[in-house]
């Protein structure tokens, strides 16, 4: 069995101070949540006295990295870490073996295999299981069937529902949530969402107002209210931090994730993919240009960078439209070099001392600038390409309702050129959504083209997309997308990318529907758009949660309200950027904290709906 790559966790340890810092900068201190999660982890580890080895379900290492680093585990006598694999456990001179796993049956079989092959060689080790995020009868039953259930001293659950991702961002990192809800009719993720929101309320106070739109939102709200009744005895005496909770189904706004994100962070995610706060980039641009060494050994390992608001420059530019990033970077470059020039002005010993004390900060700023300049160059190479431009043009045509009812030549050509399937699917789905369904002929044409070109097996994927409503045949009813677009002002002709005055800047013209709904909810309220809300799928509703007397907030003059927006089924970085923009608009009077089941982009989202996801053929 392969030893788990520790690099990820160790790398987190190095940035421990930063981690904690970036979570507490926001209006709501999400560090409390992280600390609560860490405490629980420590308590579990201490339950297994003596030295330990952890066997990881590999999927969990990423999310866990956001909560605890290797150093924390080490403090609690975790000496070895392995990845969960069939066969014999690797030798380790420890007293306890702890399995950190998701409650999945196939993983139970592996564990059972581990244990049955173990018994013959070692018998003195104690076994424990920690289910994340919840233990399951089904899994325990399976372990019992395999005859190993009795081998476990502790079977526990580690409720890791909402993971603090950044100062204003929580994610459950529940990849299959959308698929489960809309394809498989499986509400497990919603149950976990409700549980997670209960945990959040236990720490940050009862949220007095709940709004929602969509079937899943309704279900989550129902579960929350029910759970609240269930726990009513232990009344929460914490002053509420959040004023409002808004639950939004992803299927209320299927369009937004399909569009190419045009913010800096959004583009990084679209092109390279951000996973658990890290991005892997091609190394060429990051070669150390040191004099004398030449460029003989270019790094071949991808460059791994952590991306969060702890990095001052990144916090500043992440949410900008990419077209405004260049200017921001060069401005920053000037400031930094000016700061370095200061040394010439430093005359007295005191001044020099002050300059030196600022050096580490300045050097960090300079290396951060260098990194982001390199990333921006990488992205620019792509955004200036003709292919990117053509694709964007078609997207924007669809979003503005141009020729959405016929077969699109660009898509046709892309299929003929065998462009990546996901790209095709994104475009076709987008056309379908913007046309409130495709004509039978058009849809069958696309489907046949796709199946003939990429293989018949994709019929399952197409079925899934139809089931999820991303691809649908036009029914008798009229195309209502133009009405929605106009009422909600989804297309702004004069989007200002440099100095935005509207959220439409994140897609250079298109304002994400989900965020418009959020914006309108805050002011002037959903009553003004009843008609449109009815056109969007699922019910919309409002619920109030009674606060114990004495916890009613006395609002200071000019104090902002805080809304937690929960995206059920995923949210994109561009949508997050738009919400951050709204938080910063001075007269909005509203601050937003974002929570989601998973951070997504069009590609990862469509991929999660595919049934035989294959690497796109060139």
């Amino acid at each position: 069995m392969m030893r788990l790559r520790r690099s990820h966790l160790i790398c987190c340890a190095a940035s421990k101070e930063k981690m904690a810092a970036h979570l507490s900068y926001g209006r709501v201190n999400l560090n409390i949540l992280r600390e609560a999660a860490r405490k629980e982890l420590r308590e579990f580890l201490d339950k297994c006295a003596g030295s330990k080895a952890i066997v990881w379900d590999e999927y969990l290492t990423g999310p866990f990295g956001l909560i605890a680093q290797y150093s924390l585990l080490k403090e609690h006598e975790v000496e070895k870490m392995f990845t969960l694999k069939n066969g014999r456990l690797p030798p380790a001179d420890v007293k306890n073996i702890i399995f950190f796993v998701r409650p999945r049956l196939e993983l139970m079989d592996i564990i059972a295999d581990n244990i049955t092959s173990e018994d013959r060689h070692h018998s003195s080790r104690d076994f424990h299981i920690l289910f994340v995020p919840r233990r399951s009868m089904l899994c325990e039953q399976r372990l019992k069937e395999q005859g190993v259930l009795a081998s476990f001293i502790n079977i526990d659950e580690y409720i890791l529902d909402l993971i603090p991702y950044d100062g204003d961002l929580l994610s459950m990192e529940y990849e299959s949530a959308f698929r489960e809800c809309y394809l498989e009719n499986d509400q497990t993720s919603l149950y976990h969402t409700a549980k997670g929101l209960m945990t959040l309320q236990a720490l940050y106070g009862t949220i007095p107002q709940i709004y929602g739109k969509g079937e899943c939102a309704r279900l989550v709200a129902n579960m929350m209210l029910r759970m609240k009744r269930e726990f009513a005895g232990s009344q929460n005496q914490i002053l509420p931090v959040f004023d409002t909770l808004l639950l939004l189904d992803r299927n209320v706004d299927l369009l937004t994730p399909l569009a190419t994100q045009l913010t800096y962070e959004g583009l990084i995610d679209e092109i390279y993919g951000i996973s658990n706060g890290y991005v892997k980039l091609p190394p060429e641009k990051f070669a150390q240009k040191k004099q004398g060494e030449g460029s003989k050994d270019l790094p071949t390992e991808p460059k791994k960078l952590q991306l969060n608001s702890a990095e001052e420059l990144y916090a500043e530019i992440r949410d900008k439209n990419f077209n405004a990033v260049g200017a921001a970077l060069s401005k920053k470059a000037k400031i930094i070099s000016a700061a370095f020039e200061e040394r010439h002005n430093a005359k007295t010993v005191g001044e020099i001392k002050q300059f030196v004390s600022q050096l580490p900060h300045m050097q960090a700023a300079r290396s951060s600038l260098a990194n982001h300049t390199s990333i921006a160059e990488l992205i620019k190479d792509i955004t200036t390409s003709e292919a990117f431009f053509d694709n964007l043009t078609v997207e924007q045509e669809f979003m503005t309702g141009v020729d959405t009812d016929k077969v699109n030549t660009y898509i046709e050509d892309c299929i003929a050129q065998k462009d990546p399937l996901i790209k095709i699917l994104r475009l076709v789905c987008m056309q379908s959504v913007c046309n409130n369904g495709l004509k039978h002929k058009v849809m069958d044409y696309y489907k046949r083209e796709i199946l003939q070109t990429y293989g018949y097996e994709h019929i399952l994927t197409l079925n899934n997309l139809e089931k999820a409503g991303l691809l649908k045949p036009q029914t008798g009813s009229r195309n209502n997308y133009p009405t929605i677009r106009k009422t909600l002002k989804l297309w702004m002709e004069d989007a200002n990318e440099q100095n935005p005055n509207d959220i439409s800047y994140v897609y250079s013209g298109y304002s994400p529907l989900s965020i418009r709904l959020t914006q309108i909810l805050a002011r002037p309220g959903w009553r003004s758009i009843e008609e449109v809300l009815k056109m969007l799928p699922g019910p919309h509703f409002e619920e109030r949660q009674q606060l114990p007397s004495g916890l009613h907030k006395k609002r200071q003059q000019g104090e902002n309200r805080t809304t937690l927006v929960f995206f059920l089924g995923g949210v994109t970085y561009a949508e997050i950027a738009a919400l951050r923009f709204l938080s910063q608009v001075e007269d909005s009077g509203m601050e937003y904290v974002i929570a989601t089941t998973k951070l997504i982009n069009g590609t990862t989202w469509i991929k999660s709906l595919m049934d035989r996801p294959e690497s796109p053929t060139q």
């Binding site: 999945r104 049956l105 919840r134 399951s136 009868m137 089904l138 039953q141 489960e180 498989e184 009719n185 499986d186 509400q187 497990t188 919603l190 149950y191 409700a194 279900l219 129902n222 579960m223 029910r226 759970m227 009744r229 269930e230 726990f231 009513a232 005895g233 232990s234 009344q235 046709e412 050509d413 299929i415 003929a416 050129q417 065998k418 069958d444 044409y445 489907k447 046949r448 083209e449 199946l451 003939q452 070109t453 990429y454 293989g455 018949y456 097996e457 019929i459 399952l460 079925n463 049934d611 035989r612």
Partner: protein
């Protein structure tokens, strides 16, 4: 007030008092004579069975249950066999031990709960005597049969019968016996004439208590104290012998030391004759109380309750603190404080003198404490009040005095006074209350169905809802659902109204109770109020309402609950099954007639199948299902897929082309690259591939293979559906400018500029742009010009100017 000590009787250093508890509210025709009586300690209920030995079926004895104050709780004719002994368990259940060894258990309200037997052998030999005893582990029963054998059960809730060994020389029943229990061991101490035996599981040992010689006569009575600490033996010669049981089982008796007076109570023995009650202290002094009626004695931890047919008294040693305060001429600080307060109320300056006296000794705190403590021990509310007032008065002169004890005592007294009321009838002393704990007291109130009082107590003492009000409501509701005279609706409404959303009340528990009583409909109504869907599911399943259970499980969202549904065909289950077995999934779709999903299942399966035949047959199944699902497109597509597979197989066999499994497009690509144009053409036609895509394919393929003549021929075969710019661009991509130029002329006017630029012909591009008078195109050409093309630039600029003029 002054006469508080009037009811005190000295016994050695101590005083004894008897307090009137109740005038019994029962009316017994024959008093307690000829009756079996059992009264539970801690102010427990009283059970009465008149003439238990009467066997004629015509007049059955009556079994009556009363509260401690004599209020009737239940009364019913005894229809079962002759009863030897009655007794109460720690949880206020009535035990009726019959001659044949059967023990019947009734609840407080006389409803039969269950029964068990003390062993087969008892049935023949008959129970002679039985005793009910309590230990920390529960309530036990010991019997002795006519064959002089003892049988023990230490805990009736966890019945394990133990037959004790024979006692040598014992004929018939022993003259007297007691059960001793300590440290999980239970033994029987018995006497046969002057001899004393100890009987345990395995052996029977003779014991000789020191200081008691056989000359003292036969032992006729023995008694063990409430705490199993003291033993008293009475011989027929009138000797009373008491001992402290250090270790009851080795029976190491220690004669009680005379002078060492324990701070609390001194043991004393109460003996009762027909008309006389005698309290005997170790100091050899006695107090005599005459009695008129036959009485029943109930041992309590801090005294003895004397129940007669007309009234009830509590006989106890006066607590020390009360002695200190009320003893005549006592100078204890508490006594002085009480006096001071009395003078204060009379507005007499003597109050100050008394206070000064206490303060000089710095005993004021102690004085307050004494008063508060004494108030706790007093039964009379006036006395309680005057003591508490004195304490409160004294408190005024103290700084830094914690009010806790005062407040707690006040509250507890209020509760105690309420439960002592004869309508409730729980005559608990403060000491007993402390031992019993508040929780148990509330439980007892609930058990006696004093729900409003219990709720008041909980609210008054501010017990958290979870342990207090909610618990009471839960019991109330569970009891309510058993009322047979009310309709389901009425009960559900009443329960919902009272219980509402009280935290911690589980509607499913209440519903379970209703279901137990056979009221399924009511149970379902109640379940609707259950907040936790998860909790509803198991009960609904038990009630065989699977449809409802299912919808509740869905509502809860907890997939894990689906475990309950294994083996049932339900849509919810698909989620669980996806986790489990593919095969189960298929069955499920089959049962549900979900043809679409079933077809998808076959498609998925076909990709796992390696043999072509298997694959085709699975696909055929898929086609059938898609047909049933009326999904024409899928039918067509899947048929196409099968056709393609067969085609690929054929060509693979014939030419070894390695096509199987490729997509249609890639298949055609491969065919073209292999030069199998005809076959590619066939696919193009058979599968109705759009011209555009086929042209692209062929164009690229020919260009890649550099078959330029073929390409030219192809371009002329008919009008290109993809235009000719594509030809130009593909040729350039393959680095053949020469070939590319051939197609420039065929390009549509709109694309001319682009085509010229693509082959690097600036002049041509300029001509085209100028001809089309298109400013944007002129700009595009200009941007490609370098300084060496000054002529072209000039021309373009002129043209642009000309357009601008117009």
């Amino acid at each position: 007030m002054a006469f508080i000590t009037a009811s005190w009787n000295p016994l050695g250093d101590a005083f004894y008092r008897s307090t009137d508890l109740y005038e019994m509210s029962w009316s017994l025709r024959d008093g307690l004579r000829d009756s079996l009586v059992a009264a539970a300690p801690y102010g427990g209920p009283i059970a009465l069975l008149r003439e238990p030995q009467r066997r004629s079926p015509s007049s059955r004895p009556q079994l009556e249950i009363y509260s401690a104050s004599g209020g009737t709780v239940a009364s019913f004719p005894w229809k079962s066999g002759p009863v030897v002994q009655l007794g109460w368990t720690v949880s206020d259940e009535l035990l009726c031990i019959q001659e044949d060894g059967t023990v019947l258990i009734y609840d407080l309200f006389g409803s039969f709960k269950r029964h068990f037997s003390m062993g087969q052998e008892v049935v023949q030999s008959q129970v002679m005597e039985a005793k009910v005893f309590h230990s920390p582990y529960g309530t036990g029963i010991a019997i002795v049969t006519s064959s002089s054998r003892f049988t023990l059960a230490t805990n009736i809730d966890d019945l394990k019968l133990r037959r004790l060994p024979e006692v040598p020389g014992l004929q018939g029943k022993p003259s007297c016996w007691v059960v001793l229990t300590q440290d999980r061991q239970t033994k029987v101490l018995l006497s046969n004439g002057p001899e004393l035996f100890i009987l345990d599981n395995t052996s029977c040992t003779v014991v000789c208590p020191p200081g008691l010689s056989p000359q003292d006569g036969n032992i006729v009575h023995m008694s063990v104290s409430f705490s199993y600490k003291y033993l008293a033996l009475l011989t027929d010669s009138g000797h009373l012998w008491t001992a402290l049981l250090l270790h009851p089982f080795n029976l190491e008796f220690t004669c009680l030391p005379r002078c060492r007076r324990p701070k609390s109570q001194q043991p004393s023995v109460v003996l009762m004759w027909d008309r006389l009650l005698l309290v005997v202290g170790v100091c050899n002094e006695t107090i005599q109380y005459p009695i008129e009626d036959p009485c029943v004695l109930v041992g309590e931890m801090d005294g003895v309750r004397i129940i007669s047919s007309s009234n009830q008294e509590l006989l106890q040693e006066v607590p020390l603190v009360c002695q200190d305060i009320f003893k005549i001429a006592s100078m204890a600080p508490g006594a002085l404080l009480l006096e001071a307060h009395r003078e204060y109320e009379k507005s007499s300056q003597k109050a100050d003198e008394y206070l000064r006296e206490i303060k000089e000794q710095s005993m004021l705190g102690e004085a307050v404490r004494q008063c508060v403590e004494a108030a706790g021990h007093e039964y009379d509310t006036n006395t309680q009040k005057s003591l508490m007032r004195a304490a409160s008065f004294g408190k005024c002169f103290l700084t830094d005095f914690s009010p806790d004890q005062f407040v707690t005592t006040c509250r507890e007294l209020r509760v105690l006074n309420a439960v002592r009321d004869s309508s409730v009838g729980l005559p608990l002393t403060h000491t007993q209350f402390k031992q019993l704990t508040l929780q148990v007291l509330i439980d007892r109130l609930v058990y006696r169905q004093f729900y409003p009082l219990a709720i008041e107590v909980c609210r008054y003492l501010k017990i958290p809802d979870y342990q207090g009000v909610s618990r009471v409501l839960k019991h109330w509701a569970s009891c309510k659902v058993q009322q047979k005279d009310l309709t389901d609706d009425a009960i559900a409404r009443a329960v919902c109204m009272k219980v509402g959303d009280s935290p911690g009340v589980s509607y499913s528990d209440i519903a379970a109770k209703a279901y137990e009583c056979g009221r399924a409909e009511l149970a379902i109504k109640l379940l609707d109020f259950e907040a936790r869907s998860g909790e509803q599911v198991p009960l609904l399943l038990k009630m065989k309402r699977s449809q409802l259970a299912l919808s509740k499980a869905v509502e809860s969202g907890d997939t894990d609950l689906g475990e309950c549904f294994t083996g049932r065909s339900q849509p919810l289950q698909t989620g669980f099954c996806k986790l489990q077995e593919q095969e189960t999934l298929k069955d499920l779709y089959n049962q549900d007639d979900d043809h679409q999903e079933l077809a998808n299942y076959y498609v998925t399966a076909s990709y796992r199948e390696k043999r072509l035949e298997g694959r085709l047959s699975l696909l055929q199944s898929a086609v059938d299902e898609y047909n049933k699902a009326k999904n024409e497109f899928a039918v067509k597509t899947t048929e196409d897929e099968m056709r393609l597979l067969r085609f690929q197989r054929k060509l693979d066999d014939e030419k070894g082309a390695g096509l199987l499994g490729l997509s249609l497009q890639v298949t055609m690509e491969t065919l073209l690259s292999l030069g199998l144009h005809k076959q590619a053409e066939q696919l193009y036609k058979d599968f109705r591939v759009p011209d555009k895509r086929y042209w692209w394919l062929k164009l690229k393929s020919l260009a890649e293979k550099e078959e330029w003549d073929e390409l030219e021929k192809f371009s002329k075969s008919k009008k290109s559906p993809i235009g000719y710019l594509a030809f130009v661009e593909v040729c350039i991509k393959c680095n053949n400018k020469y070939e590319a130029k051939k197609y420039v002329s065929k390009v549509t006017p709109e694309q001319k500029v682009k085509a010229h630029l693509a082959v690097g012909d600036l002049e041509g591009a300029a001509d085209a742009a100028i001809e089309r008078r298109n400013e944007a195109e002129i700009g595009a050409v200009l941007s490609r010009c370098s300084a060496s093309n000054s002529l072209v630039i000039e021309r373009l600029n002129r043209a642009r100017a000309a357009i601008a003029k117009k």
